[in-house]
């Protein structure tokens, strides 16, 4: 019998009681699975903590589910809305496009444009052959006639390509010319490379068309016994302004289009102007046909827009300045936004469900390993009730979703200083492209992944999961340690997510006296940043319970909150780098990248910001002088000695993994106090590129005093306050010794004070000489 494997996802991540959530499950080796709704309390199986803790919850869909094998369409492509079959051409025609192939020699046929049925060999197509040659083909069903160019396409170069078929003579002509300028391609003008190729031949027949074949760009129709219709021959690369004519365009006419002239009107069937539709707020997934029939093309799996086109001149770095130069639509053969599986079950959440982290637990076969699956979601209250909100950083979960660093990133062992510890699920994901990638990966063609979604199984957004490259819990399972802490201390808390924050703004936070963040809320959209800043300024009290947060700008469409856009570039550590000119997000038209580079370092809101990361070893915090300030003694009340957190589930210390630092030059409010700081970090902790202008020896833990976590507190306007823990390992120190430890005590002191109505203890006594008013002297 085949190995039992269960994977699933849900359509929503944040749900309220009474609302419906749908589950999608794929099963291998089994036809049924046992489903059980569970409330998740703790997800780290480290022996020094409480282990995995969950509560089974009654619900109508508990019990046996019928599950089946599901199929996933990976790869992005465009489909033209050609209901009247105008593109099923019988007579002469010409196809053309500007293209920028990323991986022409992939060894598989890639279809650029065509109305082609791969299974029945009918229609026509223009594509790239296995060995990288541009190819035009026409199929009659039993036979296919091919015509290929003379020399293979070179990767990362812009070309103008066209193919025409003269129905009368049968003459097929292929046109390939480079359109390389000083900026747009990997090679410039000095490389002695002749990109032109013009080949012509007489075909034996004209295409035969099937009624239902769609006209696709970057893929072609295919069929499989079990799957039915799907798209194969997926293309990796950019396409810019493709078109279709019902006559043969001569060499001179094509030369004109190549040099940037608008294609002639005579005989135009379709001309997809990929530069059409840009607004100040970005662009959607529909590519406009400005030809006579409006055969607009819809993107599947989000082809990447806002990319530079063939005529990018290097002067303008954003589509908002020169939309005409941003015609590039980029496709990837392994892009995945939505698995679009058949729904397995829908659940209307019981009205009495408490807010919290929930999951549908599925088990089949052995019920462990790959035979066990949790589909997590978060339940918000119908009406906010608690004083405390735990804000789950789901945007950051998306950014890290299904990262493949242990397998694909040669630098990761050097970075972590550790050998990866893999489990079956990691290997399963590596073997199978249907899990998609996260923003820490590159697509197979080498370009960085800028879209990530939760409408697919996200294997690292699961309890018990340990990130393989570091052997600790990370993001979701690490944040469960905070939930377990809240549960242990019986706080009345609600859970809400980044998705809610992005959609509702400050209104989502306002009902709460105290908001606690996740352990690594790194990815923040502008709406989320604004809401957080407004909440604190309006008197809210915020506990930033992690590090390297509020770091990178991302964008989320309101109507499709399950997809995150992230562009990495510039002054930061990054898993990949967006090309020049492609730093603005298609979702909002905003510049991506680190908030620091956009003028909003995290210090400005939280008092601290990212300074260093290491792994392998965490250190304790040492109390700093401010903790002895009698007005702040409530924070360290009941804590003995000067060392805080010399224990933890993440490398035996409360200060570790990633660290944040107090920095007046980057906008830490000058009234901020440092309660404790960590020190003695190993040389595996390196200071971040943003805090220095040059790299030089001596910027690591044992040399550089900046490598540390600063536990920081400051009072904000209107009785607001911010407490920042500045370390990812902080949350994972909470569960040690049955939650009875000085880190837990310190956090409880802060939460208790923050959640209590009225001014904070330190605000009660007015400061006589306020050094804050004096200019910061050194």
């Amino acid at each position: 019998m085949a190995q039992v494997k269960l994977f699933g996802y849900s359509d929503r991540i944040s749900v309220k009681p009474g609302e419906v959530i749908q589950f999608y499950v794929n099963a291998d080796g089994t036809e049924t699975a046992e489903a059980q709704l569970v409330r998740l309390i703790h997800g780290d199986q480290h022996p020094a903590g409480p282990g995995h803790v969950e509560q089974e919850i009654e619900c109508p869909v508990n019990g046996r589910w019928r599950v089946e094998k599901q199929y996933t369409q990976v790869g992005s492509f465009l489909e033209a809305a050609d209901t009247e079959r105008r593109l099923a051409l019988e007579g002469s025609f010409t196809l053309f496009a500007f293209v920028h192939p990323l991986w022409p020699q992939v060894g598989m046929r890639q279809c650029l444009l065509g109305r082609w049925d791969n299974d029945k060999n009918c229609g026509f197509g223009l594509g790239i052959k296995q060995n990288g040659l541009l190819e035009f083909w026409v199929g009659r069903g039993d036979e296919v006639d091919y015509l290929e160019a003379e020399v293979p396409l070179k990767a990362n170069m812009w070309y103008f390509v066209a193919a025409s078929l003269d129905a009368k003579t049968g003459r097929a002509t292929l046109y390939q010319e480079g359109v390389v300028n000083r900026y747009n391609s990997v090679l410039g003008k000095v490389a002695p490379l002749d990109l032109s190729s013009h080949v012509s031949e007489v075909f034996r027949f004209r295409p035969k068309h099937l009624a239902d074949t769609p006209f696709l760009m970057a893929g072609s129709r295919d069929w499989h016994e079990k799957r039915g219709h799907f798209v194969s021959q997926l293309y990796c690369g950019k396409i810019d302004r493709p078109g279709l004519f019902d006559r043969v365009l001569g060499r001179d006419e094509l030369d004109l289009i190549r040099s940037g002239h608008r294609p002639p009107a005579k005989g135009m069937l379709a001309y997809w102007d990929t530069t059409h539709g840009y607004t100040d707020q970005g662009i959607g997934d529909t590519v406009t046909d400005v030809g006579p029939f409006n055969l607009h093309a819809k993107g599947y799996n989000r082809p990447v827009r806002a990319q530079t086109g063939w005529n990018w001149s290097g002067r303008n770095d954003c589509f908002r300045l020169a939309p005409d130069e941003y015609g590039g639509v980029e496709f990837h053969s392994d892009a995945l936004i939505d698995c679009n599986w058949k729904q397995t079950k829908a659940l209307k959440l019981p009205d009495n469900l408490r807010s919290g982290a929930y999951a549908m637990r599925l088990r089949a076969g052995p019920g462990t390993g790959l035979g066990e699956e949790y589909i997590p979601f978060f339940v918000r209250p119908k009406v906010p009730t608690g004083r405390i909100a735990f804000l789950v950083p789901t945007a950051s979960y998306l950014a890290y979703a299904n990262e493949h660093l242990s397998f694909d990133a040669p630098i990761v062992q050097g970075m972590t200083g550790m050998t990866p510890i893999l489990t079956d699920i990691d290997v399963e994901m590596y073997k199978n492209p249907e899990f998609g990638h996260g923003c820490y990966d590159s697509w197979a063609d080498g370009q960085g992944v800028c879209y990530s979604s939760y409408r697919r199984p996200v294997i690292n957004m699961r309890p018990k999961y340990r990130i393989s490259s570091m052997d600790i819990t990370w993001q979701y399972p690490a944040d469960l340690s905070v939930i377990a802490w809240l549960e242990h201390h019986n706080y009345d808390y609600d859970v809400l997510t980044d998705e809610d924050l992005d959609l509702e703004g400050v209104a989502a936070l306002e009902p709460y006296r105290c908001v606690i963040s996740g352990t690594h809320p790194e990815y923040y959209s502008e709406r989320m940043m604004d809401a957080t800043e407004d909440y604190i300024e309006g008197g809210g009290r915020y506990i930033y319970l992690g590090a390297n947060g509020y770091y990178c700008n991302v964008a989320i469409r309101r109507e499709e909150p399950w997809v995150l856009e992230c562009r990495k570039f510039g002054d930061t550590w990054k898993a990949w780098e967006a090309r020049p000119g492609e730093h603005y997000m298609a979702t909002t038209g905003q510049k991506g990248g680190p908030w620091k580079c956009l003028g909003r370092p995290p210090q400005k809101i939280m008092g601290v910001g990212f300074v260093s990361e290491g792994f392998g070893r965490s250190e304790p915090f040492y109390r700093m002088p401010d903790s002895y300030d009698s007005s702040l003694s409530w924070i360290t009340e009941g804590i003995e000695g000067e060392i805080i957190g010399d224990f933890g589930l993440a490398y035996d210390g409360a200060a570790g993994v990633e660290l944040d630092r107090y920095d007046l030059t980057l906008g830490t409010p000058p009234n901020a106090k440092v309660i404790a700081s960590s020190g003695g970090h190993t040389d595996n902790y390196i200071t971040h590129v943003q805090v220095q202008l040059h790299q030089h020896p001596g910027i690591t833990g044992s040399y550089d005093y900046r490598v540390r976590a600063d536990m920081t507190y400051f009072a904000a306007p209107n009785d607001g306050a911010v407490f920042s823990c500045s370390s990812i390992a902080f949350g994972q120190a909470l569960p040690v010794n049955g939650f009875e430890n000085n880190v837990s005590r310190l956090l409880a002191n802060v939460v208790n004070a923050f959640a209590k109505p009225g001014p904070l203890p330190d605000a009660a006594r007015p400061e006589v000489t306020s050094p804050e008013t004096a200019p910061a002297a050194s």
Partner: protein, 551 residues
């Protein structure tokens, strides 16, 4: 330096000042070695470096660039007149075109020469050469059909001449007895071939190669004995003569000879066409994906290769019968020698010399054997010994006949090349100039040099102290020696890089190696199960040290 002081043999931990329970104050360590030493010491390569460069074996045509390249096909097929590969020269980026398959050119030239032979033959040789040419045409045609059976269908049949002979005798008989005109003889022969082929095709699907060869050889002998002893087939005259012939009796013997030459030449062309249509199209393709060892696989994928083989066998039998009929019409009859064992053997020699599985092998093999057998007739019996020697040479030294020489030479040359390199190159060492010319990215050439130097240096850092230090704390602050080793190990490329696999079943850990290729799971490198991650980390370290010292 002299005796090392205590301080030099001790590593002091910069983090000890932080009173962390995790850090030691000091550890014994190896003495400091500069990484630059190896660079300063290495002044020349250990092996002699020769000037390199590759010979250009083939003419490369220039590319078309802006001008349109008009291509054409063999009507009505999809095949291009010449298979041409266009590419960029890796080194110079020059546009190049290579004729991938030059056989069409050789065929055209070869066939044109054959067509011109009667016109350019000196008069005194005319008789010998044209007679030999006639034999050549017929035998080449026979061998092409035979090649289909042996090469394409992989049926080791020796009954070829039995089919030809039977068809020839039957048609000659029909012609002499019923006065059939000459043009009816080949079609009639074809029918006889079909029947004969049908009969012997049956056991072909059941019997193994060797037994089938024996069976068909027996059949050949049976036919010989039958015809030799049958009075109506001319047991008295050594053959059956008097059949209708297409050669006008009133022509001069030269004219007749020339006509016969061209007729047989045409016959060979027809056989070539047959060969091309069977071997080069669907039937041949089916059989090529199902070579002997993979028949089960082919069957599983739904390819009915048995039926395909029988069909090829039947079609070639029809062809052989047709040739038999033509044989009668050409010679006005047929002799018993067509069944004789030496005919079979000579035919086999023709196939083997040319190389099994190619049309040009059948034709050129025939040409060679016929040349020795029929043209050098003055040599006497020694010519048969020469044929035997050629055959022996081919069987002993060539893997696939004369036309396999090119491939065989290339394989041999590549083998020699890698042998020569392996004697000079060291494992994990620098690229030799001849290797470097083949490197796609010159950056790799330097990376190999750097890596070699780095490893030479790092080997000196491996001491018991370092290994103990790692066992104590795989993560954390390390002495310079250990840290240098770890940094090197961790920054290696992904393929074959070690990782640890957590085993759910046993709660243990095992060392695996990453594939470095998406979609390919890591492979297990050892069976040992470690009880904790820390032990596994150290296990990985020891393996890496081992690999370093062995390189």
């Amino acid at each position: 330096m002299t005796e090392l002081s205590q301080a030099q043999r001790t590593w002091r931990n910069p983090l000890f000042a932080w009173d962390s329970a995790q850090e030691v104050e000091q550890l014994p360590t190896a003495s400091y070695v500069s990484h630059q030493e190896i660079w300063e010491r290495t002044r020349s390569s250990r092996t002699e470096l020769f000037k390199v460069g590759r010979l250009r074996y083939y003419h490369k045509w220039a590319g078309h660039g802006q001008s349109t390249w008009r291509r054409s096909r063999y009507w009505p097929t999809r095949r291009r007149v010449l298979r041409i590969r266009g590419e960029y020269n890796d080194k110079s980026l020059r546009r190049e075109k290579t004729i991938v398959d030059k056989r069409p050119i050789w065929w055209v030239v070869g066939l044109m020469v054959l067509a011109l032979v009667p016109l350019i033959t000196p008069e005194r040789l005319e008789n010998t050469l044209l007679t030999a040419g006639v034999t050549f045409g017929i035998y080449a045609a026979i061998n092409l059909c035979w090649m289909l059976v042996i090469g394409t269908a992989s049926i080791f049949s020796l009954a070829t001449y039995a089919i030809v002979g039977t068809a020839a005798f039957m048609t000659a008989y029909a012609s002499t007895m019923f006065g059939l005109p000459w043009w009816l003889l080949p079609p009639l022969g074809a029918i006889i071939g079909l029947i004969f082929g049908g009969i012997i095709a049956l056991p072909a699907t059941r019997l193994d190669g060797f037994y089938y060869a024996l069976l068909t050889l027996g059949l050949n002998e049976l036919c010989r004995v039958y015809f030799v002893t049958s009075k109506e087939f001319g047991s008295a005259t050594g053959g059956l003569y008097g059949a209708a012939t297409y050669l006008p009796q009133d022509w001069s013997s030269t004219g007749q000879l020339q006509l016969a030459y061209y007729a047989c030449f045409t016959l060979m062309l027809l056989a070539l066409l047959l060969y091309r249509f069977i071997n080069g199209r669907q039937l041949g393709r089916i059989l090529r994906i199902a070579p002997e060892k993979r028949e089960a696989f082919a069957e599983a994928t739904g390819v009915d290769f048995r039926q395909a083989r029988v069909r090829v066998f039947l079609i070639s039998s029809v062809g052989l019968g047709f040739i038999g009929g033509f044989y009668s019409a050409n010679y006005g009859g047929v002799a018993f020698s067509i069944f004789s064992f030496d005919t079979v053997l000579l035919g086999l020699a023709m196939l083997v010399i040319g190389g099994i599985g190619r049309a040009e092998g059948a034709v050129v093999g025939t040409l060679i054997v016929v040349f020795f057998d029929k043209v050098l007739i003055t040599l006497g019996p020694i010519r048969l010994i020469i044929i035997g020697l050629i055959m022996l040479f081919v069987v002993l030294y060539l893997r696939n006949g004369l036309f396999g020489i090119k491939q065989q030479f290339r394989t041999w040359r590549d083998k020699k090349k890698s042998e020569r390199r392996s004697t000079r190159a060291e494992k994990g060492g620098e690229m030799l100039p001849e290797e470097a010319t083949e490197a796609r990215n010159p950056d790799d050439v330097y990376r190999r040099r750097y890596d070699k130097m780095q490893r030479e240096f790092l080997k000196k850092l491996v001491t018991p102290e370092v290994i103990n230090e790692h066992r104590r704390a795989p993560q954390g602050q390390h002495s310079e020696s250990l840290e240098r080793l770890l940094i090197y190990f961790r920054n290696q490329p992904q393929p074959d890089k070690y990782a640890i696999s957590a085993l759910q079943s046993t709660n243990g850990y095992r060392i695996v190696a990453l594939s470095g290729h998406r979609g390919v799971a890591p492979r297990v490198v050892e069976d040992k199960i470690y009880r904790s991650p820390v032990e596994a980390y150290h296990g990985v370290f020891l393996r890496r040290v081992q690999d370093l010292l062995e390189s």
